[in-house]
């Protein structure tokens, strides 16, 4: 299956992209998504466990992902 990974701000700069499509085995979790991202050049600039949202809600590394899900890596927020 594949999911869309969204990157923002410093993470988008680090990986040179704001959106990626990532292929995963069935029954994958957020941890699997992060492992795929960690293989990409530039990912060494990201923290080991970035904040993650799945379909626009904060999620944990154990959250299951489904085909077509929107997984976002959330840099330290700076609103206000």
């Amino acid at each position: 299956m594949s999911v869309t990974v969204l990157l923002f701000a410093s993470y988008a700069d680090a990986l040179g992209a704001s959106s990626l499509s990532v292929d995963l085995p069935a029954e994958a979790t957020v941890a699997d998504v992060l492992a795929e991202i960690a293989r990409l050049p530039g990912s060494e600039l990201l923290p080991a466990s970035p904040l993650v949202a799945v379909n626009q809600r904060y999620a944990s590394t154990s959250t299951r992902v489904s085909p077509g899900d929107e997984v976002a890596l959330i840099p330290p927020v700076a609103g206000g």
Partner: protein, 148 residues
């Protein structure tokens, strides 16, 4: 109805926010404005560029506005966060609250801005007087330093 928590690319209008939370039941209205200032973490700033994970940020702003109103009793809360390029003295965020009593209005306003800074996926890139730009965290430190 206009969402109580929302993003905008237009300047934030203080008078509009105040009117949105005015009710005959409220004895206190409090408006907080976060404003771009000329110095951050010791560096001269000329402007700030705000961006967001827009769908999620809108959801979180709306959720905070609802939670705030629930948490502090009968209250009206409106939160507006601006995106795009902002110059000095421009407001990046406006939070208006209305409550029967001032004590709750102050607590409510403060809780709302802290919650916004904690969880709404918005980022800022500061533009400095020397022409450089950097992503900054909510305390104004460049993000690169934070990760070192």
């Amino acid at each position: 109805m206009t969402p109580l928590g929302r993003l905008t690319r237009e300047p934030i209008d203080a008078a509009v926010l105040v009117r949105e939370v005015a009710r005959p039941a409220h004895g206190a209205i409090l408006l907080f404005l976060g404003v771009v200032r000329e110095v951050n973490d010791g560096r001269g700033v000329t402007g700030i560029e705000y961006s967001a994970y827009e769908a999620m940020a809108g959801f979180e702003l709306q959720a905070i506005a609802s939670e705030a109103a629930d948490r502090f009793g009968p209250a009206d809360v409106v939160i507006v966060h601006r995106l795009g390029e902002l110059g000095l003295e421009e407001a990046s965020v406006g939070i208006a609250v209305g409550h029967a009593h001032r004590d709750e209005a102050y607590q409510l306003s403060r809780w709302t801005i802290e919650e916004l800074k904690r969880r709404v996926p918005i980022w800022k890139r500061e533009h400095y007087v020397d022409g450089t730009r950097e992503w900054a965290d909510s305390a104004g430190r460049p993000v690169a330093e934070v990760h070192q």
